[in-house]
Assembly symmetry: C2
């Protein structure tokens, strides 16, 4: 982790420094893992298929991740970080005022129900039949839960009180349910309609 | 389907009539399919492994279901029917009064998060990577949604009005989120706590 950083000599423009290229390849592999999980599921995600998707040889992939387990463990760091990053970024463009609450829930639903979310669901469901994956998923999930909880509280502009905490947790459970639903049918009008049952409770948090 | 029914002669006590034995074998295969989905996932569920689980030969299983697709289609009828039946039965023993609301949600969470629910989640997640399964799941799900919606409305004792309808739909989305959560950690205390934020949504329905 704390490898001494060599001073990199100036390089030709079309060639990234070695360190950057390695980071970039690693990232390509992790993105390919998420894509593979979302499209082919947990059972269809292996070192070879991920390398393939990233346009690399299996050997080149193994240079970064020796085994499927190592790859999945890294993906379990990468996936939540990506989701948080995307929510944080899009969270900067949300409206203020009364329509903010639904906009926050909509943003969460989009991310949880999009390919990042589907990849994550595949891991959850895979974990239910694979105890070792289960341990990894539980750890990654606990970390993600803490971060997404804090971020949601901030986006909603709620103070950190017991009642608000519960309301945010319930919102996140609801969002997971919507994400699941979006996997078989993506009906935003229906979601908007159903959300009207929940918003009045969430509005109390603003008071 | 409308095969003429032979009058069955009296039989020895240890031998069920042929029709009953056939229905029983079919049911055993469908139960084994649900068990296999819950434990081995969609990718691990095939005609051979299901026959195995049911203690039958592949040939005997194929007598009832020619292909994996036929088996899955029948399971997609069987699974929701089982869930509805179990909820209806356990719904008869729920308390009346103010604690009824949480008891209803708890019952739904137990069924959606139990092996019937996990099997169903496996199919949903499998459907996201398999368009043909997706069509079957969507059809079965639309049917199940109508039934579970009606049953929940009855269990809660709500009248069929727009606001109540939304509250019930939202609760069913929440329950799906809890079921997902129960796959990686089963924390009933946490669920009870989070539910306290949700109950006001339902309390309005009683008024």
């Amino acid at each position: 982790m704390t490898r001494p950083q060599r001073r990199t000599p100036p390089e030709r423009k079309d060639r990234a420094p070695r360190q950057d290229r390695s980071t970039e390849t690693r990232r390509r592999l992790l993105d390919a893992t998420i894509e593979s999980l979302a499209k082919d599921g947990w059972a269809g995600t292996g070192l070879t298929s991920v390398a393939d998707r990233a346009g690399l040889s299996r050997g080149a992939a193994q240079h970064h991740f020796g085994t499927r387990d190592e790859l999945v463990e890294a993906a379990l760091d990468h996936l939540p970080a990506q989701r948080i990053e995307e929510i944080r970024e899009r969270g900067q463009h949300l409206p203020d005022g009364p329509e903010r609450l639904e906009a926050v829930v909509d943003l969460l639903c989009d991310i949880f129900g999009g390919s990042l979310g589907v990849a994550s669901l595949q891991l959850w469901v895979g974990a239910s039949t694979d105890p070792q994956l289960g341990d990894l998923v539980r750890k990654a999930d606990a970390r993600f839960n803490r971060e997404i909880y804090q971020l949601t509280l901030e986006l909603l502009g709620f103070s950190d009180e017991p009642e608000n905490r519960r309301a945010v947790q319930a919102t996140l459970v609801l969002v997971r349910g919507f994400a699941l639903d979006a996997m078989v049918r993506d009906d935003k009008k229906w979601r908007h309609d159903v959300l009207q049952a929940w918003l009045p409770v969430l509005e109390r948090g603003l008071a």
